[in-house]
Amino acid sequence: MVLLKMKFNQQRRVRLAQGLWLLSWLAVMCGAFIFCLGVYLKTELLRRNEVMENTEIHVVPNILMLVGLASIGTNWVATRVCQDSLDASRFPRWKVLLLAWFVVAALLCCLLLAVVVLSYVLQGRLEESLKVGLRNGIRFYKDTDVPGRCFQKETIDRLQMEFRCCGNNNFKDWFEVQWVSGRFLDYTAQEVKDRIRSNVDGRYLLDGVPFSCCNPASPRPCLQYHLTDNRAHFNYDYLSEDLNLYSRGCRQALTDYYMGLMNSTGPGVLSVILIQISVILSLRYLQTAVEGAMALENPEGDSEGYILEKGVKETFEEVKVKVLTMIKLAQVDPEGVPDEAEAEKAADTAAEKAASPTPAS
C-alpha cells in the first residue's frame, strides 16, 4: 500500500526538479537566517551576562546556530541533487547519500521544533538565573574597590536606566542591602551610628535607592532618600506616588525583554520548519519519480512518485527489522568465535581421545 502516490510525466518531473531547486536555495537562505537569528540572540544574552547566574538559556541560540549551519549544508546538497536529477548518468551516485540526507533533514526539523518548545520551557530557568544574578549585583553594588566586582555598580546603574526598572522584584530590594560603601560614611555622625546599630549585622541600611531608579517622566525632581517618610518631603505621599521611581523590577523587565525576543522569532522559525518539510517531501517525490523513470524502458515516459513504498506501519516494521539485524550482526560475531573455539576444542578432545588409548593397549 503505497503512501500518497502521484503520477509524474517527463514535463512534471522537470518542473518538479526546477521548482525544488529554487525551493532549496530559498531553504539555504532560511538556514542563513536561522544562523543569524541564533547569533543575534546569543549576543543579546551575552550583553547581560553579568546579571545572569548560569548559562542554561544559551542552549536556545546554540541550537539555532548549529541548525542554521547544518541546514545551509543540507539544502545546498539538495540543490546539487536537483541539478543532477534529470541526468540519468549522474543521478545514481546520489542514491546512497539520499537516505542519510532524509535522516539529517528530519533531524534538523525536529531540532527546530525543540528550540521553539525550549524557548517557552526555559522561561522559569531564565527567571531563576536572573533572580540570583540581580541579587548578587545589588549586594555587590557598593564594592567598587573590590577587584572583580568593581563594575557591578556601573552595570546595575546602566541596566536600571536602560530597562527602566529598579531592584530585583521592586525598589524595596534596595532597602535590604547596604548599597552605600563604608568609604563614604562618616562613622562619627550620629545618624550613621544609629542606623548601623539598628540591625544585627551592623549594616548601614536606609530607605533610599540609587539615582538610576529615578523616572524621568516624573513631574517633580527625583526623590531618592527617605522614601517612606512623608514628612521628609513637601507635598509627598509615599503610598500614592507612582511616577517618582520605576515601579517595575529588573527581573520582570529582563524576562519580558528576552521572552519577547524569543516569541518574535517563533513565527520565523515555524515558517522555516514548513519550508524544510516541503523540501524533504518534494525531494522524496523527485527521487522516487526519477528512479521509477530510470527503471522504465523509455526514460521519458510516465512514472510514479510516492512518499513511502509500503504503508507507514510496514515501513516502520521494516526499518526496525533492519536495525535489529544490524545489532544482531554485531553481536553474532563475538558469539561465533566462542562456538568455533568450542568446535575446535571438541575436535582436539576427540583427537586426544583417539590418540590416548593407543599407549594403554
Binding site: 536606566m161 552605600v180 529615578c214 524621568p216
Partner: protein, 348 residues
C-alpha cells in the same frame, strides 16, 4: 581652443560605452544611497528638534535628498544614452536633449559638493541653535504643569542620560536657574525662604543638579545637592571630584555627535560626487566621439572626443547667454515701451 582632446578608435568607443553603462548603474545606486543618507540625517536632526532653536541646519539633509533624487534621474538617462550611443540610427534623437541635460547634471553635481561644504560651514549655526534651545529647555525644566512645556523635563533628562552630558556649557548652568517647581517647595521652611530672599528675582536657586547629570561610573553614590559645599558630604572635595556628575556640556556633546555624523556622511557623499563627475565626463567624451561619426559611411573610423569645444570661459558665456537674454528681454521690452512712450511725448 578645445579642452582635453582625446583620440577614440572604434574599440575604445565600444569599451567606453560599455564601461559607462556599468558606471551609470553604479551611480544610480549611489544616488539612492545619497537620498538615504539625507533621510537619515534629517531623522536624527528631528529627533532632537526640541533642543534646537531654529531649523537652519536642515538645509544640509534637504539638499542631499534633492540631489539624491535628481541623481537617480540623471544616471538613468546616462545609461539610456550610452545604450543608444553605439547605434548610429538611434543616437541622433538624443542630440537636442544633451545640452540641457549636461547643464542640469552639472548643476546638481555641484550642489552635491556644496552640501558637503555646507555641512562644515554650518557648524556655527548649529551651535547657536543648540545654545538657545538648551537654554530654554533648562529654563522650562520645572514647568511640568504648563501646557506646551510639560515634556521639557523628560526631554532634558533623557538627553543628559543618553549623551552623558550636564547643562548647556557645563553643570553650573543648573545653579543659575530655578529647576525645582514651586509646587514642591515648602515656603514655610526657613531654608526655602532664605534662598528665595538671596536673589533679586526671588527664585529658589540651589547648587544642585538633576539626577540625570549623575555619572554611573562614579565609585560612590551620586551627590546631587550641595555640590560646592565640601563639608556637606563625607570625604568629598568639590574641586577634585571628576566622576560624580558628567562634566561635559550638552551643547558640546550634541555638536560633536552631529559633526561626527555629517563627517561620515560627507566622506560618502564626496566619493559619490567623484563617481557622478566621472560619469558625466565619460558621457561627454562618448557624445563628442559619436557625433563625429554621424553621417559618415564607415562607422568604425577613429574619431576625436573632447570635453569642451571652446574654452571654459566661452562655454560658460554660451550657457549663460539664454538665461541673460531672458532677463535682458524683459529689460529690453521695458526699454522699448519707454522709447514708444517717449516718442509720442516727443512728437507734440
Amino acid at each position: 581652443m578645445v579642452v582635453m582632446k582625446m583620440k577614440f578608435p572604434f574599440q575604445k568607443r565600444v569599451k567606453l560605452a560599455q564601461g559607462l553603462w556599468l558606471l551609470s548603474w553604479c551611480a544610480t545606486v549611489a544616488g539612492a544611497t545619497t537620498f538615504t543618507l539625507g533621510c537619515l540625517l534629517k531623522t536624527e536632526l528631528r529627533r532632537r528638534a526640541e533642543v534646537m532653536d531654529n531649523t537652519d541646519i536642515h538645509v544640509v539633509p534637504n539638499t542631499l535628498m534633492i540631489v539624491g533624487l535628481a541623481s537617480l534621474g540623471i544616471n538613468y538617462f546616462a545609461s539610456k544614452i550610452c545604450q543608444d550611443a553605439l547605434d548610429a540610427g538611434r543616437f541622433p534623437r538624443w542630440k537636442n536633449f544633451l545640452k540641457p541635460y549636461f547643464a542640469v547634471s552639472c548643476f546638481f553635481t555641484v550642489l552635491m559638493l556644496l552640501s558637503v561644504i555646507m555641512s562644515y560651514a554650518m557648524k556655527g549655526s548649529l551651535e547657536s541653535s543648540l545654545k538657545a534651545g538648551l537654554r530654554n529647555g533648562i529654563r522650562f525644566y520645572k514647568d511640568t504643569d504648563t501646557p506646551g512645556r510639560c515634556f521639557q523635563k523628560q526631554n532634558i533628562d533623557r538627553l543628559q542620560m543618553e549623551f552623558e552630558c550636564c547643562g548647556n556649557n557645563d553643570f553650573r548652568d543648573w545653579f543659575e536657574v530655578q529647576w525645582i517647581s514651586n509646587r514642591y517647595l515648602d515656603f514655610g521652611s526657613k531654608e526655602v525662604k532664605d534662598r528665595v530672599k538671596s536673589n533679586v528675582d526671588g527664585r529658589y536657586l540651589v547648587d544642585g543638579v538633576p539626577f540625570s547629570c549623575c555619572n554611573p561610573r562614579s565609585p560612590r553614590p551620586c551627590i546631587q545637592y550641595h555640590l560646592t559645599n565640601n563639608s556637606a558630604h563625607y570625604n568629598y572635595d568639590y574641586l577634585t571630584e571628576e566622576l560624580n556628575i558628567y562634566l561635559r556640556g550638552c551643547r558640546e556633546a550634541l555638536v560633536h555627535y552631529y559633526m561626527g555624523l555629517m563627517n561620515t556622511i560627507g566622506a560618502g557623499v564626496l566619493s559619490i560626487f567623484i563617481l557622478q563627475g566621472s560619469v558625466l565626463v565619460s558621457l561627454r567624451f562618448l557624445q563628442t566621439a559619436m557625433e563625429a561619426v554621424a553621417g559618415k559611411e564607415n562607422t568604425e573610423i577613429e574619431t576625436e572626443g573632447y570635453l569642451l569645444e571652446k574654452g571654459v570661459k566661452d562655454t560658460i558665456m554660451e550657457y549663460l547667454d539664454p538665461v541673460l537674454k531672458f532677463f535682458l528681454l524683459k529689460n529690453g521690452g521695458k526699454v522699448e515701451e519707454g522709447a514708444a512712450a517717449d516718442k509720442p511725448a516727443a512728437v507734440p
